[in-house]
């Protein structure tokens, strides 16, 4: 019991620096994923229309890309080592379920890194302009494939695909199959049992050979339904964040520019706002798919995110969407507690219900905050596309004219809010996804306190690491701002 208390205390300390590290990484990562879409859209416009301002904007944005890519790579190393060093018990998963996705991610990362350098260094080097644009397209594909692979590991942590009926044996209310069984359930449970006394069990070399083969199909992570849904949802979120951030920069320039330069900046603004709007219109569908996967495979997280009471209840919209029945009754945590006894590990089942219940007060407001932010972004997107229709634009002009501005200026101001909303939605969504799985690292199989390192994690150590993470966040962000200011110097005079 004392050992578990010690493990929990250490894991909780480690969790704080991991959370900060992941968010710092995500801050830079969204640029790596989202910025190629905006930069390529601007360069496309520049090549097609022989537009010098678009070309200049694309080139300057790619400088930001350079800094954020470097900061993303550094913080990626931090997250990678956080996984193998702080949460060293996850090496059991890295040597099995995560291996294929992590290994194949390298090829995507290599492609990305080679072509990002080619892209940044070969501006206006080719007489046939599309060659340079294609370099950027390869970067875009590489960064997205890279995201797909990394999310493959995360998807397995949420929905451990390939374990057949194992999860339902541990968590009886998850009565669905988690894909074909490609694991040796006995060996996996033995590993889980050995690690329940702490990850130090992995230091015993006899554990490796005595368990034998755990996984027979290394590629199983690619079949995880959560992977594809999460990929679409996450990449879309990154594009929305970066597109609206870029819009807010172009919008700011539009507001500050002399009258003769405003038209040019408005065009740039419309390109990036357009990218964000297109994806904001699609994103609700991906969100819906993510919700369905969560309902099907992580019912406790679903209950906590939707804010059901302990006794469960009805929700007409969810009832229609998920069951086609507005009065469908969703069983609550109390019902799940009554099923705990049927588990092969009642303690684990109980911890799952209690864990979800304990985080409900955190993830419910975050979840609905994300939904509301998404709805507002959807509305901005509709207003943006409506402004291209003569009749609708006249209506919009009349409405926003009440506050003394035209539609374009309104959209510019909206872009400032949109950037903040998109950032909030992304951060909140990821919090719901990770916190909602509490206390599991791999849902139903390995709790987070079983994978924390046996090495000492002291409050001083955690404070130092967090200080370092924040310093990187501050210096990387300052770098981006300095670059942005430097690149924008004199840009207001460009016609």
């Amino acid at each position: 019991m004392l050992a578990l208390v010690n493990l929990l205390a250490k894991a909780n300390l480690a969790e704080v620096m991991t959370v900060v590290g992941i968010y710092v990484h995500a801050w830079f990562l969204v640029f790596a994923i989202g910025l190629p879409y905006v930069v390529l859209a601007l360069e496309w416009k520049a090549i097609r229309n022989k537009n010098g301002l678009s070309l200049s904007a694309a080139r300057k944005a790619s400088a930001v890309w350079g800094v954020s890519f470097a900061a993303g790579a550094a913080t990626g190393t931090l997250v990678e080592f956080g996984l193998v060093q702080i949460w060293s018990g996850t090496l059991a998963a890295l040597g099995t379920f995560f291996f294929a996705v992590m290994y194949l991610e390298l090829f995507a990362f290599m492609t990305e890194i080679v072509f990002v350098v080619l892209y940044i260094y070969t501006w206006e080097r080719f007489s046939y302009k599309w060659v340079h644009w294609l370099f950027g397209l390869v970067v875009l594909v590489g960064s997205n494939l890279s995201a797909l692979m990394i999310l493959g590991a995360n998807a397995f942590m949420n929905v451990p695909w390939g374990t057949g009926d194992l999860i339902s044996k541990v968590l009886p209310w998850e009565s669905v199959s988690y894909g074909p069984s490609v694991v040796n359930q006995t060996a996996l449970l033995s590993l889980s049992s050995a690690m329940s006394k702490g990850s130090l069990a992995l230091a015993s070399l006899s554990l490796g050979s005595s368990l034998g083969q755990i996984l027979s199909n290394p590629m199983i992570a690619f079949y995880d339904p959560d992977l594809w849904v999460t990929f679409l949802h996450t990449v879309s979120a990154a594009i929305i964040v970066v597109a609206f951030e870029a819009s807010s920069v172009f919008g700011y320039l539009f507001l500050k520019a002399p009258e003769e330069s405003k038209a040019g900046f408005l065009k740039l603004f419309r390109v990036s706002f357009g990218v964000g709007s297109v994806v904001s219109l699609i994103q609700p569908f991906f969100g819906d798919l993510a919700g369905r996967v969560e309902y099907t495979y992580q019912y406790t997280k679903f209950l906590a995110a939707e804010g059901f009471s302990s006794n469960g209840g009805t929700n007409p919209i969810l009832g229609i969407l998920l069951k086609g029945n507005p009065s469908y009754y969703f069983p609550g945590f109390n019902q799940l507690l009554s099923e705990v006894k049927a588990s092969i590990d009642p303690e684990a089942a109980l911890a799952t219900v209690k864990g979800a219940e304990s985080v409900e007060s955190i993830i419910f407001p975050l979840y609905y905050g994300m939904v509301i932010a998404g709805i507002l972004l959807f509305i901005f997107a509709v207003l943006y596309f409506a402004s291209y229709s003569g009749a609708l634009r006249r209506i919009e002009d009349k409405v926003v004219g009440l506050i003394g501005i035209d539609v374009d200026t309104f959209l510019v101001y909206a872009s400032f809010l949109a950037a903040a909303l998109a950032l909030f939605a992304g951060a909140a969504g990821w919090a719901v996804r990770e916190v909602g799985r509490h206390p599991w690292t791999i849902y139903g199989l390995i709790p987070y306190y079983d994978v924390v390192t046996p090495a000492a994690i002291t409050p001083v150590f955690v404070a130092l690491i967090i200080a370092l993470e924040l310093a990187i966040f501050a210096s990387g962000t300052a770098g981006i701002i300095i670059v942005l200011r430097h690149e924008l110097k004199g840009v207001l005079k460009v016609k």
């Binding site: 400088a63 350079g66 800094v67 890519f69 470097a70 900061a71 550094a74 990626g76 190393t77 931090l78 990678e80 080592f81 193998v84 060093q85 060293s88 090496l91 059991a92 890295l94 040597g95 099995t96 291996f99 992590m102 991610e105 390298l106 990362f109 290599m110 890194i113 080679v114 990002v116 350098v117 080619l118 940044i120 260094y121 070969t122 080097r125 060996a187 990850s199 130090l200 992995l202 230091a203 554990l207 490796g208 050979s209 034998g212 083969q213 755990i214 390192t453 046996p454 090495a455 000492a456 690491i465 370092l468 990187i472 210096s475 990387g476 300052a478 770098g479 670059v483 200011r485 430097h486």
Partner: protein, 391 residues
Amino acid sequence: MLITSVWIGFLMLGITIVSHIFLVSLVLGLAFMAPILEYLSYRRKDEKFEALAKSALKYLAISELAAGVWATWFTVALAGFWPQLTFIATTVLFYPLTIAITGVMIGIPFMAIYWYTWGAVSRRIHLLIGVVMAGGALLVPTGFNMIFSFLDDPVGLKRALAGNGWAVFQNPLYPDFTIHRISAAISMAAMVFAAVYAIKAHRDHDRIHEWASEIGLYIGLPALLIASITGVIYAFLLDKYSPYVASAVLGPLSFSSVATYFRLYPAFVGFMVIISGIWVSAMFNGLHKAFDRSKEISSFILLAFSLVGVPYGEVLNDLPRYPYMVIQGVSGIPASNFINHWMYISPVFAYAAMIIGTALMAVFSYMIYTVLVSKTPGKSGEGISSGLTAA
């Protein structure tokens, strides 16, 4: 099947380590050179130094990107093929690895900031950014070299597993090996720099290139001297604390006489030839002022041997351990004890890695040529020549 997995796992680890060490040595050396050159520019009010610093930074940026790929690959190979070894390493070497990761986290962002803030902030602040970058780069080998010292002599294993993570710092191989690695890296980068500019000086008859080559030698030769002295000391230390490795590499020169799987003495002689070649060609270039045909040949030798020296040395450092993974005096813990038993990893993964890795290096070399040697238009795409000539 197990033997195949062990060998492939060992090979994968070896390829990724050697490739990574080759690139990070360039990174470390150039991360030192760039701020030093910028400082000289600041002190002497001579913009030629600044142009040189910018050239060093261009090499640095590209080397770092490729090194990052190999570092990630190395980690995944470790975790995939050797999960329990990685677990033990991350537990026992917790503090050294934390130092190294801290270095990575400082070094990479500051490299980008250093690059992009050139001319955008005051020179003092920019120089400070460069110093932080170099400091970050220095922390990386300071931490990671403990891994290699530990594999040759696992000092502090039990104490670290019991909770005293600092015990590993009592490893007698570590201080000398770390200084050796760092000085070798600085020497390698500076010598490559010196050789490239000497070759260009001969072809372009450009005094600025001649002068740039001399600067490379001023930095490279002292570093080479330190690397050579610590290298000799390292051989003696290996003989004392890791006789299995010493016997495999030093052969008849070793005081120990242990039967080893590999007998690498001929390869060690080859290594001595390479190091001697670097010394001779560097000294010749330093003393022979005329940029004629003989100096061009000497520069090519210097370039080739400087590029080959570090990875060659790394092969000699790692291969002798086989079939053991961790050496304990005259024998060790077999690598097969650490191999991943939980999942069969198809050799296809390893072959694909080797093919794609080779392709990467080809594209990388092309980039080096395109970006740095040939004249590329654009602000950040200026070739070395254009940067220096402008200065």
